[in-house]
Amino acid sequence: MGLTPPANVKPGLATPLPSTLSSDERAKELRLKAQTVRRSVAEMIGRARLGHIGGDFSVSDILATLFFSVLRLDPTNPAAPQRDRFILSKGHCAAALYSTLALRGFFSVDALKTFVEPLSPLNGHPNRRKVPGVEANTGPLGHGLPVGVGVAIGAKLAHADWRTFVVLGDGELQEGSNWEAAMCAGHRELDNLVAIIDRNRLQQGARTEDTNRLEPLGDKWRAFGWDVVTVDGHDHSALYQALSSPHPGKPRCVIADTIKGKGVSFIEDRVEWHHKVPSPEQVELALKELA
């Protein structure tokens, strides 16, 4: 089954929410989108009995802000050369990405029902060869940023003005390849590249700081030559500002302080919900809280 955009999706590179929108209006729209993504994720994972709900919920506001108020994309032409690039390095949060892509018009929301079913294009980790809107296949951690650095170098070589955004998990920063890429991006002063850290402070087995300490995280990125901005990762206005404002001469690192499982009381900030699957009753409860 191939994924194609619904008939009513308009062609052309665009950002859905205009920059002229007031901050409050934008935040209101983005909150609705993010909650829609979360409800979609709850339904997908409840149905599939598989997924990473905690990280999906922590990253939902970041994805909504990017796809609806920052990224210039054309769902009818996913390979448009001048598009902005988005890479989800924490590929295990594919359910949130797929939901966002469907909501943005890359394919029908109906297709989300096939998530991880046999032969579905919607694998447990994203595959660009099957899912329009996916720029790079991820899953093993520490892959997204090096690829993003290459894309950003390419934009510089092509004298193109499109930008590259990479979302990383915080636990993922324990992979050394990220720091190879961070050093390279800082050295090359890639001011067309933004790395967003979903800083929910939990990794699969425990808290990041109890496992392999990341702090002082901002200092680390600054030391590598990045412009560092720390925001509340659930504050859409702050996210928009951090993701859309220029950062001349340096790549930008947005440390987005988030809550793993954000939006559902019994899932929030609990390590077991990294990839625990909610029961049907819990899905119903979650959907009520996310209404």
Partner: protein, 318 residues
């Protein structure tokens, strides 16, 4: 039948042909870029850097990032030639090769410089003898091992236009010319019969091809008519040529500058066992190498005329 092979004394290695061809291509195609890991010298990219300083992306000593950057450049519309010493490019960045390049299906050309045991005395850390095995396991990644400078040049031209991920071994060992000059020197997934023969097939790749030709001459003097196949694409293998060799000569010796588990010999054996079982001998590297020059190590592992002849005669007299 076959004219005696007059093998001229080699004067330069395949890296020269590689670099000259890459520069020619880059002059007419702005999408061509080179990515390397502080290996401008060892990858012979100095000339490229002089002509196209911006298009030489040196990421420093960081192979995982290097391969990821290559994939990203492909996403951005470029044709990246990612160059590093074979052992570090393929060993350190194996998962990036699998995921960022092959699984993404980005047209990245991975150039394994100075592969095999070219770094002789530097020891097993610097030998790239496992590359054929572990890269053969990766879906969709072509594996090219040119036998001489002309074939290296033709393979680089093919890779730039192919639009698919591939790995090319760019040899440092000085080798004689064994293929005709020109574009036809290399055909992807094509094995070339360099010497006709009906008694046994010597199936070789890379720097071992000229050795197979030399061995065929020795065998001829002993009354054994050996066919020599140059397998410059290890994957996908030219199965028709291998099956024909098996059926028409009844015995196969494979010779490669690589471990015998999973490389050329294994690929040939997989084909032969499915389609035309015949006795085989697989010559290659059988352990971490002792100290010695590449030439010494070829002799140590029997990757020379004597070793090839002995294996062929053993097959014919069993």
């Amino acid at each position: 039948m076959n004219a005696p092979v007059d093998i001229p004394v080699p004067t330069f290695d395949c890296r020269v042909a590689f670099a000259e061809t890459l520069i020619e291509l880059a002059k007419v195609d702005e999408r061509i870029v080179a990515v390397c890991n502080d290996s401008v010298g060892s990858s012979n990219l100095g000339g490229f850097q002089k002509l196209f300083p911006e298009r030489l992306v040196n990421v420093g000593i960081a192979e995982q990032n290097m391969v990821g950057v290559g994939a990203g450049l492909a996403n951005a519309g470029f044709i990246p030639f990612v160059c590093g010493a074979g052992p570090f490019l393929t060993g350190r960045a194996l998962e990036q090769i699998k995921v960022d390049v092959a699984y993404n299906n980005f047209p990245v050309v991975l150039c394994g410089m100075s592969p095999g045991m070219a770094y002789g005395e530097l020891g097993p850390t610097h030998h790239s003898i496992e590359d054929l095995s572990w890269l053969r396991a990766i879906d969709g990644l072509g594996i090219v091992v040119p036998a001489d400078p002309a074939q290296t040049s033709a393979a680089v031209r093919w890779a730039a236009a192919a639009g698919t991920p591939c790995y090319i071994r760019v040899g440092r060992t000085k080798v004689p010319a064994v293929t005709p000059d020109g574009a036809d020197a290399f055909g992807f997934s094509r094995a070339d019969v360099l010497r006709k023969g009906a008694d046994v097939s010597l199936v070789a790749t890379g720097a071992m091809v000229s050795r197979a030709l030399a061995a065929a001459e020795v065998l001829a003097a002993k009354g054994v008519d050996a066919r020599v196949l140059n397998v410059s694409t290890v994957k996908p293998l030219d199965e028709a040529a291998i099956v024909a060799a098996a059926r028409e000569t009844g015995a196969i010796v494979t010779i490669e500058e690589a471990v015998i588990q999973g490389g050329l010999g294994a690929a040939v054996a997989e084909t032969v066992v499915h389609h035309a079982p015949v006795p085989m001998r697989i010559l290659g590297v059988t352990s971490f190498a002792p100290t010695g020059t590449a030439e010494f190590l070829f002799d140590h592992f029997g990757l020379n005329s004597e070793g090839i002849v002995a294996a062929a005669l053993e097959l014919k007299t069993r």
